[in-house]
Each structure stands twice: as C-alpha cells, then as structure tokens.
C-alpha cells in the first residue's frame, strides 16, 4: 500500500471534479445521463471483483442491485434516514446476501454458483412482489428530500455517484494488488492447485462475493431517489445482468481499469441510443458486441491495447 496517499489524492481530485461539474449547473440532462454511467461503473467494477478476479460468473446482478434499492425503500418508508445511511444499509444487506449465496454454493463448482444466482433473482423478485409494504407488484412512489445541495436532487446524486465510483474503483484496485487479489487469481486459474498450495480458497471466494454484493447494493441504494418510482420489473431488470457482464468483458476483466472503460463506452452508447434510435436495436447491438468481444477479443479492450503496444 505504498501508493495509498497517491490513490487518495487521485480520488479526491476526481470527487472534486465531480463537485465542480455539479456546481457549474450545466444542462441538467448531463447529470441524469452521467448518473447512469457512473452507476454502471460501480456495477461493472463490483461484478468484476468476483467475475474477473475470481472467475465466478454472477448472473444475478439484478438481485443484489434491487436489494440495495429495496432496502432503501424500506428505510425511506419507515425512518427516512439521510442518504449515507441508506447507502450503507443497502450495501450491507446485499453483502449479506452475497455471503449467504456464497456459503450455500461456493463449495461446489463455479457453474453451480452461476445457476444459483440465476435462480436467486427470481426468488427475490417473487418475495418483493408479495411484500406490500414496499409496494409489492404495484410499485411505490418515493418523494425526494427537499433542499438538496446544488439546487437539484439529481445533480446531488450525480456527485454522490462520483464518490461511490471512486470508492468502488479504489477498492477493486486495492484488492487486485493485495495478497487477496493474487489468491483470487490463483484460484481463478486452477482452483484445485491453489487449494493444494494452501490458498484459503473458500474464504477468499466468500470475501469476493461479499464485497461484490456490498458494492452492488451501494449502487442500488440511491436508485429510489433517482427514479422516484420503484417497481420490481425495472429494479430486477435483465439489463443490469447483461451490462454487468458486458462492460467488464468489453473493457477487460483482469484489471480495475477494464470495467471503467467498458462502463463508460457501453453506458454512453446506451444513453445516446435511448435518445436517438430505437432502443431494441440498442440491446441487440450490446448482445452482438458482447459475443464478438468474447469470441475475438477475450481480454477486452485492455487486451487489445496490450497487444498493440506489443507486450
């Protein structure tokens, strides 16, 4: 952790930039679109901690994201605590979820974990649909708090998301460079061999699912205030599952930069497509690009860049 002060400084600079952009009060559309892209940076980074570093594919991203959102909804309906509490609570609940799923399935092979995550989304969505207090299948309208900084609540959320993105990326980078990251890489390459060498694979896997879950929950917690209407179909949307997969794959899964690149590129493209061409085509293109990358450029853009540099 020799470069900790440098990382801290870089992080502060980015957050400062975010606040600066926010106080400029440029065209509000920028903050709405920017929020979504930043949210995806967090989601992609979170997914990659488990998927890219450890090699365990999580298809249930929507479940973790939605649990963060619905924890926030529950708290808003009961105690209305300030936003930081909502974010922490959302993260904790999803972290616990990650831990639970991990404990149930990680003693088996990776494919079983993936299948379990598929089933998880459906089970949780059914539970939420039947829980009237948070709106059930009808959904719930949430009123934003008044008097936000920067005058507009979404502008404020934009800066919050900048902060969360910085936190997520720093965490990923920290994990990547620590012994945890090396252990995860070892078990990704050959789990049996890693076990034999004394790597505490189960504990590392549980750590990865917990951290990944935490960050996904954190991404979901501000969602109710952003969209003001939360209902199960959109909270558990398959879009999150696909994008959480596609963004790291396209950017490159081996490093913390990959998910960021993927999120910015794919996220911006999707935002642009939403307000230009028909958005079904947009999804179709994501699918094609994903498959193309996975087949032809499995290491993503990072891999391509490395090859170009001749490494």
């Amino acid at each position: 952790m020799r470069d900790a002060p440098l990382v801290l400084l870089a992080g502060l600079v980015v957050v400062g930039l975010g606040i600066g952009i926010a106080s400029l009060r440029v065209n509000p559309y920028l903050y709405f679109a920017g929020y979504v892209i930043l949210q995806y940076i967090v989601i992609a980074t979170a997914w990659n901690i488990l998927g890219g570093y450890a090699g365990y594919v999580n298809f249930g991203t929507p479940a973790f994201f939605a649990m963060g959102a619905y924890t926030a909804v529950f708290l808003i309906q009961t105690m209305r605590p300030p936003l930081p509490v909502l974010i922490l609570a959302g993260g904790l609940v999803s972290a616990l979820l990650g831990l639970a799923i991990g404990y149930l399935t990680l003693r088996l092979r990776g494919t079983f974990f993936s299948i379990a995550t598929l089933a998880l989304s459906i089970v949780l969505q059914t539970m939420i649909i039947n829980w009237e207090f948070v709106g059930g299948s009808r959904g719930l309208s949430v009123i934003r708090p008044s008097g936000p900084p920067f005058g507009n609540y979404v502008t404020f959320l934009f800066t919050v998301m900048v902060l969360l993105a910085v936190v997520a990326v720093s965490a990923a980078r920290f994990i990547e460079r620590s012994w945890v990251g090396r252990g995860l890489a070892a078990l990704r390459d050959n789990e049996e061999a890693a076990e034999c060498m004394g790597v505490p694979t189960l504990r590392l896997k549980l750590f990865a699912t917990t951290v990944s879950g935490f960050l996904l929950g954190v991404a979901g917690a501000p969602f109710p205030y952003y969209v003001t209407f939360v209902e199960p179909n959109s909270a558990f949307s398959l879009d999150y599952a696909v994008n959480a997969l596609a963004m790291p794959m396209i950017g490159g899964t081996t490093s913390w930069i990959g998910p960021v690149i993927g999120a910015v590129l794919l996220g911006s493209a999707q935002q642009l497509a939403t307000v230009t061409i028909s958005s079904e085509m947009n999804l179709f293109i994501v699918g094609i690009v994903l498959v193309a990358f996975v087949v032809a450029a499995p290491e993503g853009i990072l891999g391509l860049v490395r090859r170009l540099r001749g490494r």
Partner: protein
C-alpha cells in the same frame, strides 16, 4: 477604379434596405415555420408496447390532422419522442433531455401507470401541465392540480374497473351470492382486486376464493379447478393478456360455468386475441373503454379517425381495428390542442386552468376532468361478448359482438345471464 460617391451611397442604401427586408422576411418566415414541439416517452418496446405503439400512431394521426388545418396558433406541430422501453428508470433521463436539450414546448406522458409515476415529480418541479395516458391513481399521493388523465376511470380509479361488473351481478335475479376473485401479481391486477374487494363488501357478497398468481404461470388449470371447486356464482378475474387467454382456455377445458364470469381481463379486446379465441369469448362480461356500437360511432370525428388508423395500422404492426385505446390517445392530444388554441399560447398554468374548467368535445365524446385530474364522471364500460362465430376479423368490425351492458347511458344490448346460456 473609383465610383462616384453618390453611387456608393445609393448602392449602400439599396443594399441596406435589401438586407433589412431579407432579415425581416426570414424572421417572419422562421416564426411562421417555428414548430410547436410536443415531447414524450412511449413504450415502443417492452411489456406495454402492445398498447404504446397504437397510442403513438393515434398521436401521429392527430398531428397530421392538425397540421393539415394549419397547425396550432398558426405554427406546425412537431412530435419529439423516445422509446421508454416500458422501464420507469428511463423516464427521468428522457424527459430531462426533452425539456433541456430538445426544448419541447409541451409534454405528455407515456402509456401506463408505471411510466407516468416517475414523470409526475418532474412535472410538479417544473410546474408543467401534464396529460396522462392511462395510469391508475397516479395523482393520489401528490394531488397535483395540473395533471389530467384521459383514462375514463373517474373519481375512484381503483373500483372503476369492477364497479360495473358487480353492479350488474347485483341486479340479476336470482341474486348471486358468492364471489371468487383471482389476479396476477402485477400493478394493474392488484389495483383492480383492491377495488373488487371493496365492492364485494359494499354489495354484500361472500368471498370464497381470493388468490393471486405469478405472471409467469404456464398452466392455469390448477387455479381454475380450485375456483370451480368453490362453486362461486361470480368469478372476477384481473389479468394481463397472456393470463387472460390462459384463464379463459382453462375455464373452457375444466368446464367452469359460474353465473357471471370476467371482470378485469386485459387483452380480450385486442384484435389478435378476439380472432384467435373466437367463440370461446362468448358470455364473458368484461371491462372496456370503447366498442363499435352506435352510440360511440356517432361521436364527432371518430369515423374519420378509425378509417385513417385502420389504413395505417397493418403497416405499423399494431392492433388492426384500434377499438380500445387509440381513440383515447387521439382525444388526449385533442384536449391539449384545443386548450392551446383557446388560451392562445403555451403558458402552462393558463393551459391547466383552462383544461380544468372546460368540458371538451372529442372523438370519444364529452370529456370533463374532476378531482386529481381524473374524469369527473367515470365511464369504464362493461361489455359482453355475444354470438361470436368462428374467427374472422370482419364480424368484430361492426356492432353486435361486443355489446355494452353498463353504464345505462351507453347501453346497447341486454346481458345474457347466466354465463352458460351464452355458450350455446
């Protein structure tokens, strides 16, 4: 070569005059061509696109009609819209772009309760007049005075679907006693069921079955059997298109024959469903908003609209008859357009005040708004499918197959009761 200075002055003056004329001319021309932009998101993909796409077509027809007559306030009308993918999370972004980047003059909502919900806070924040397209009770929490809903649900939206159904049941002799109600775990059916429960209490019926099912149910036979086992007189179903079809088919297979069957089954009125279900629809008493019965066909402008809509529908890949929502979508923009003309401007508050105070003449008849922007008087119809034979689409074009039973002002035929008699 130098020109005499007099000539320079004359040239200069001419040039100046020409420039001024040109500038003025282009300014006036630009003003005349300066379109009025109406912006909205619409469900063109995703679960609600089956209704969103016809709605868009209807709005586009209105735009063409109004531009043929010279536009609004002498300016052409332009539509700016984006696909909201039936995903409420896209709504804040879409409308912010519409307002801040595209700089639209007026907004209307997308289709459906879930897509209107995230839009209301935006409208409230910016003090905009918002016309809502088919949402249930969106304004109950906010009570925003500048919101108006084109769905004819009336002042009590939750009971609006079921009230006709239960009133009809209560009027029959011998009076039915027991009720079985079932619905999907989704927004509209849950709302409808809440209303149904209230009405059951009000009319003094006895509930013998009250359950919900997940929308991904594959087979409805167990559910229908369980209902049959209760021997309920009244069976009320609140469902979306796939479950409506599934429930109806299962009912025929199991031989479910209560005294009155139907209620809030979305989808039965879609042309594609009517033609594939055919005679299986006979006897079902269901909610509806429009029917090709004489009283509706006599309304001003409806015949021309339907002609234009049906001509374009096939190519647009939407419901070919348009006998459900499209007339209301057209009426929504009709109201807005009439308000703009009457207030001679685009002032949001003036528009809202005008719309609140006026009774409009539209292709779906007289429209007057009341509390929370809902219709002052509800007009959800109860229809019964009768005498359908085979599956040709032509039989549905004219009156007689989807008879209006309720409310009395629009009644066009008598109920065939009990349900079993209609099956013969």
């Amino acid at each position: 070569m130098r020109q005499p200075w007099t000539r320079t002055i004359v040239d200069g003056a001419l040039a100046a005059a020409l420039t001024v004329v040109l500038l003025l001319g282009s300014a006036l021309g630009a003003l005349a061509a300066d379109p009025i932009k109406i912006g909205f998101g619409m469900a063109l993909t995703g679960g609600l696109s089956a209704n969103g796409k016809p709605a868009l077509l209807a709005i586009q027809i209105w735009k063409d009609d109004i531009n043929k007559k010279g536009g609004l306030l002498g300016r052409p009308v332009e539509l700016v819209f984006y696909d909201d993918q039936t995903n409420p999370a896209t709504v804040p972004g879409i409308y912010t772009k519409l307002l801040e980047v595209d700089k639209v003059d007026l907004i209307i909502s997308g289709y459906g309760t879930n897509l209107i919900a995230p839009l209301l806070p935006i409208a409230i924040e910016r003090k905009l007049t918002l016309m809502g397209m088919f949402g249930l009770a969106n304004n109950e929490k906010y009570q925003y005075p500048n919101y108006f809903q084109i769905q004819p649900a009336g002042p009590d939206p939750q009971v609006s679907t079921a009230i006709g159904f239960f009133e009809l049941a209560a009027k029959q002799t011998p009076r039915p006693q027991t009720v079985a109600m079932v619905g999907a775990d989704a927004e509209y059916p849950q709302n409808a069921l809440v209303g149904a429960r209230e009405l059951v209490k009000k009319f003094g019926f006895k509930t013998v079955y009250d359950k919900t099912y997940p929308p991904s149910t594959v087979d409805y036979t167990p559910i229908v059997r369980a209902i049959k086992a209760t021997n309920a007189d009244i069976v009320f179903v609140a469902s979306y298109p796939p479950d409506s079809v599934g429930m109806l088919r299962a009912a025929h297979e199991v031989g479910l024959q209560p005294k009155i069957f139907g209620g809030g089954m979305v989808g039965l009125m879609f042309t594609s469903v009517m033609t594939s279900m055919g005679a299986a629809l006979n006897g079902v008493v269901n909610y509806d908003f429009w029917a090709p019965e004489p009283v509706f066909m006599a309304m001003p402008g409806i015949k021309e609209f339907l002609k234009e809509y049906q001509a374009r529908a096939e190519k647009a890949g939407v419901d070919t008859l348009g006998y459900y929502l499209p007339p209301y979508s057209y009426a929504l923009v009709q109201v807005l357009g009439q308000a703009v003309e009457a207030t001679k401007g685009l002032d949001q508050q003036k528009l809202a005040d005008y719309i609140r105070a006026t009774e409009f003449n539209t292709i779906v008849g007289k429209v007057k708004f009341g509390k929370n922007g809902e219709w002052a008087k509800g007009r959800t119809l109860m229809v019964q499918y009768q005498k359908i034979q085979g599956s040709s689409v032509e039989q549905f074009r004219g009156p007689g197959k989807k008879v209006v039973l309720w409310p009395d002002e629009f009644k066009s035929g008598a109920i065939i009761y009990p349900y079993a008699s209609a099956l013969k």
